[in-house]
Amino acid sequence: MMTPTIELDGLEVQLGGRTILHGLTGVLKSRAIGLLGPNGAGKSTLINTLLGFHVPSRGSARMLGFNSHTSGKALRSLVGYMPENDAFISKMSGVRFVRYMAEISGLPSEQAMERAHEAFVYVGLGEARYRPVGTYSLGMKQLAKLAQAIAHGPKVLILDEPTNGMDPPARKRLIELIREIREASDICLLLSSHLLRDVEETCDEVLILRNGKIASICNLVEERRANRKFLELETLGAEATFTTALESIGCECAVFSSGRIKIVMPDGVEIREVFKVAADRGVQIRRMNHRRDSLEDIFLNAMEQTGAADGRL
């Protein structure tokens, strides 16, 4: 059986006398996990706890089977971490900074140097690698942080708000990089963000936090697969015979004005069969949409539900 990426068992974390995480329990098995939640929801605290920076006051957190508290060192040997805030040594050149971090992770000096160069070129900072990190722009600093997180070839990549302060093209490039890294290896990804698009574009499973509690755990892959079964059509032609024919192959149909039809397709029925039925009945399909039950819907739904549970909107 595959080890879950993250296991939370009644995890409670108190900081400065306040409870930040309230008994989180859940299992996340996907390779790419998104942490979502409004500011102050506890995303960074959860990441810091997984890294062993905070000691749980109750319960436990495990990553790839390693307890964050009792096996912290073993766990951190698998991790590449890109923190949310500024984290660099300003007077060091970019490549030396990454080499330094790679050596601390245990790479021998020569390999660390080689991989530091590779990581810098890979993230697109090849030209700037000999400049002191302190002179980098905000976007470049983010990329340098990513370079130091991947240089030692971790098994888990933890990215805390990676696109913070980046302009749209830089953000797009970073998201592409993250997707490339995910697809090019067996690396596990934990990405924390309050930007739904970042998570939607890179993750398979989402843990939504609110006020230190789990608002929802959602498998985006299954959600996307389920969404494919819901179709919205705009048609022109014999609607009644078309819907009857669709119902005869097992679809559920709801007809609205102006030729709009909503269809729920049963398992085993593919979209091409809908086209075939339409062609047979001489019906034109002017527009076809999958239901867009996006991450935004899931997120808002989770926020509403927990808000109601908390007695708040």
């Binding site: 920076f53 905070h54 601390i104 021998p108 390999q111």
Partner: protein
């Protein structure tokens, strides 16, 4: 992840032993230090007294040179325990100056831009971090204290008459031990200050303040209360007491207004307390994440 391929690959090569990784910090710090001409100059200046002392030992053991230089042999050319006390004191002061220049930047540079979480998110503990930084000062200050003193001792042993080394072998222990406590105290203190104060000039100032203000307050306390216990706040003086007792100085070379009555254990304790307080500060400051209370 080869450059020409521009593709991510995980690392599958060998790793260095976990226990040795703290030395990466030391190595990188030394590379940075030796880029500074001022540091190199300071280091050379710190070793100059030992070079002069080597010349002195050579002359003291060479009658021909003494005759050539028309110097009269006598008490002036005695190389005994008091001679080594003086050399140790000079080198301890040199170590203090070197420490004031090097120490304040060691941790502050990592804390200024929040690099500490990057160290601690790796299989690298806070103890490893402090050890790595401590090793920088430990090696550097050793290079200007007990190592040159041992070399001088060896030189004297080689040049003096046959029985000298055996009758003075005991001096190696106080030489190493006294240097060790002084180096440990200076290193921990400057690391604690470096973890607290980010600007080098301010941090250097704070180290001077820590050394001289309590010493002055201690003097005031002694005068007002008619005691000598206030000298416990004079760390340099505590070091001298340890040195003097360690080197079995019967003449109390450093005797000043009866303060030599302070037991050597109290002097050791005073320096150990400074070390402990520094560790407490380091423990409080070196956190991957700060916790806001309330």
């Amino acid at each position: 992840m080869a450059v020409y391929k521009r593709r991510y690959n995980s690392y599958t090569g060998s790793l260095t032993p976990a226990w040795s990784r703290f030395f990466v910090l030391t190595r990188f710090a030394f590379v940075d230090l030796f880029k500074s001409r001022f540091f190199v100059l300071l280091l050379i200046l710190c070793i100059v007294p030992c070079l002069l002392s080597a010349g002195y030992i050579f002359v003291a053991n060479n009658k021909t040179v003494q005759l050539l230089m028309q110097l009269r042999s006598g008490d002036f050319f005695v190389v005994e325990n008091q001679y080594f006390i003086v050399i140790m004191i000079i080198q301890a002061e040199a170590a203090f100056l070197l420490n004031c220049w090097v120490g304040p930047v060691l941790i502050a540079g990592d804390l200024t831009n929040g690099a500490l979480p990057l160290f601690l998110s790796r299989p690298f503990s806070r103890v490893d971090y402090v050890l790595g930084k401590l090793a920088v000062l430990g090696l550097l200050l050793s290079a200007v204290t007990w190592i040159p003193c041992l070399l001088l001792f060896s030189l004297q042993s080689g040049l003096a008459h046959d029985g000298w080394i055996w009758s003075h072998l005991w001096m190696i222990l106080p030489m190493v031990l006294c240097s060790a406590i002084w180096i440990l105290m200076l290193s921990l203190l400057s690391l604690a200050v470096s973890a607290w104060v980010k600007l080098r000039i301010v941090a250097t100032g704070v180290i001077f303040i820590i050394f001289f203000i309590p010493a002055g307050l201690g003097e005031m306390f002694n005068h007002i209360m008619g005691t000598y216990w206030g000298a416990l706040l004079n760390f340099s003086y505590m070091f001298r007491i340890i040195l003097e007792r360690g080197f079995r100085d019967p003449y109390r070379l450093l005797d000043l207004s009866g303060r030599n009555e302070i037991p050597v254990a109290a002097a050791w304790s005073a320096l150990m307390v400074v070390c402990l307080l520094s560790l407490v500060i380091l423990n409080a400051r070196l956190r991957a994440r700060e916790t806001v209370r309330g």
